[in-house]
Symmetry: C2
Subunit: 382 residues, 2 copies
């Protein structure tokens, strides 16, 4: 009988990667937490490694025996790292690494170093929540759209009502971004299991309203390719009411300010900022992660209709409702740093309370994952 199984094995595996390349193991996490990246490219004249393990630069890899090029990145702290190769000028994945993410049109491999932060991003043997891709109707936009929804372990059978975090991505992202690059499901699973946070629902919509869903899942445009523009307008904020009502109608949620949080990064921070101030008394918890925040009236007629006007008066109304937490986090090298300085000045001048977290580094997922873990540990406490 073994031959039959071998046959199945062969035919199922009809065009395996391994038959095309040498059996290189990459990446390898070494004992000192340096990481060795390798790729078999016998005819190449130059192979580069790019991405986060080399601080967003690119470095030349070295050709070793058997046509295998390697580079060992100096010891890295425990974290999640995106990387890629460039082989004789051609963008390339690491053919030995199963782990990849798509960010808009870009594909990256990744490696997670266990230990400290990384352990929060690695699935552990704890109860896991459900992640669903859920469609909702939006009368405001006259279409249907999709969002990702995390419900914590036990949701299906507990009969309880849960608080909800609306978690928004940046420009270029989509309803997968917080799950794949943000590791939101793993962070939530792990922190809930450690009893560091309250079990909560996390709703991750798609911030670019010209698209219904990620590439290959959107009904209105078939197999589209994301473009890195057009996402930045007020239609997301305007249609947010449809997301909120879908969630509160279809999930067992706490339908009160103390059961609602909203947070976002970069463009999603702007979305958060605007949605919160245009809906005073809706959210008791607001989080801006490396956020855009347009605090002055701007040339609204062209780019932003009235939704973005009268910011200061709206903020005053929002703070009259006395939210439990207004959270502002940014890295000291973030290009949006000054914008957040200005925002805090405005808040200070009015005596509006907020929690400020300044981390090192820039406009990166390193920071956003940490802000998420920190933010969720501060909300919905009973």
């Amino acid at each position: 009988m073994k031959s039959r199984f071998l046959l199945v094995l062969i035919v199922s595996c009809f065009c395996s990667t391994l038959s095309w390349s040498q059996k290189v193991i990459s990446p390898v996490i070494n004992a000192d937490h340096s990481v060795t990246f390798s790729v078999y490219a016998p005819k190449a004249t130059q192979v580069e490694l790019g991405g986060e393990p080399v601080n967003f630069h690119s470095v030349d890899m070295k050709k070793g025996s058997g046509g295998v090029w390697s580079y060992t990145a100096s010891p890295l702290r425990s974290d999640f790292y995106l990387y890629f190769f460039r082989i004789d000028g051609v963008y390339s994945i690491d053919p030995s690494n199963t782990y990849m993410v798509r960010d808009a049109n870009d594909i990256y491999n990744y490696v997670i170093l266990p230990g400290d932060r990384g352990d929060l991003y690695i699935p552990q043997d704890v109860p896991h929540g459900t992640v669903s891709r859920v469609w909702y109707d939006t009368p405001v936009l006259g279409t249907q759209r999709r969002m990702s929804i995390y419900t914590p372990a036990g949701y299906e059978t507990s009969g309880k009502e849960y608080p909800v975090l609306y978690l928004l991505h940046g420009q270029g992202g989509d309803e997968d971004a917080w799950l794949v690059m943000g590791r939101a499901a793993q962070i939530l699973d792990n922190l809930i299991a450690q009893k560091k946070i309250e079990p909560m629902i996390v709703v991750m919509p798609y911030g670019a309203t010209q698209h219904q869903a990620i590439p290959g899942e959107a009904g209105n445009e078939g197999m589209y390719r994301p473009k890195f523009d057009g996402a930045y307008n007020t239609t997301f904020e305007a249609h947010f009411v449809d997301i909120l009502s879908h969630v509160e109608k279809n999930y067992r949620t706490i339908k009160a300010p103390e059961g609602r949080a909203i947070a976002g990064l970069s463009m999603g921070g702007e979305h958060t900022f605007q949605i919160a101030l245009n809906n005073p008394g809706t959210f008791d918890y607001v989080g801006l992660f490396s956020s855009c925040a347009h605090i002055r009236e701007i040339n609204g007629k062209e780019m932003f209709p009235e939704l973005y006007m009268n910011t200061e008066a709206k903020l005053a109304k929002q703070f009259e409702a006395n939210p439990k937490l207004y959270y502002i986090a940014i890295g000291d090298k973030d290009p949006l740093y000054q914008m957040n300085v200005d925002l805090r000045k405005l808040f200070d001048s009015h005596g509006w309370k907020y929690v400020y977290v300044e981390s090192t580094g820039g406009h990166t997922w390193y920071n956003w994952r940490v802000y998420l873990a920190d933010f969720v540990s501060r909300i919905f406490k009973r």
Copy 2:
């Protein structure tokens, strides 16, 4: 203000693919349904195209102007095609194509040609079902595992009970396989919208019980790499009762044979065959797609304990329950063809009724997607 937006754009797009390679558009579907694949590889001495558009062979691409290599595959029928490049011996994705799938450790790009079959695999602007990644406890295996569950559009609010199809993948696959390569959600959405099939729940578990979930989501082994073995044993069949009971406890299902179907491809066909005959009267609809089917007692002590024994007597009992449909489909060039001839001979000798579909071609997703669309159009009819 525009400069601020530009800034956000730049920082969010910190290491875009496009900055690394020329702006090549690939693949391009031409008017005659030939498809041109291109890649910028100025220093390469050989670039090959592999995969389904070239019948699982590899062909040399041609170097054109500007360092761009191209190949035009002769007109292809409307379908879903997996492909990849090999650049100077290195397995490579198409850096211009957003669309990829992971099959165990292998990454492929894909292209869908619209028109006939392809339209069924492309998301259309129809109501969409929800796809969830759901964890279940399995007392039989003493662990927790994950499955993908499709609920049809309207499930959340209809209050109705639905029939359930249990849909099993082949060796090397996982709980993503039917969704990403099988396009199951698109097929179901589109056929339901066309009123060609009944709305149904589709449950897609992970057939390799040594793993809890796809790479990067499994709690018991962190960031594992799938191996193409170890999946073929009877533990999946033995623990199937836990899947069934989780689904029937947590979803609004028709808890009777007429509300249950089971189907699978290759190894998943064997799982289907065995689960159906070891649980007579449970399923009114059984589908074997390019299936393994061990109809004789085999050297059970080594490989298969009693679950796989006494096949003929068990089948007799199964057919006493008078299932509404036993469906056997296979391609005329499938390496498992003879095994299915033997199976049909056995069925014929006993007068057990089945529907037989023989298509052209081999052990491929081309066929499995078609079998799925055909099978679901024959089940749960009222």
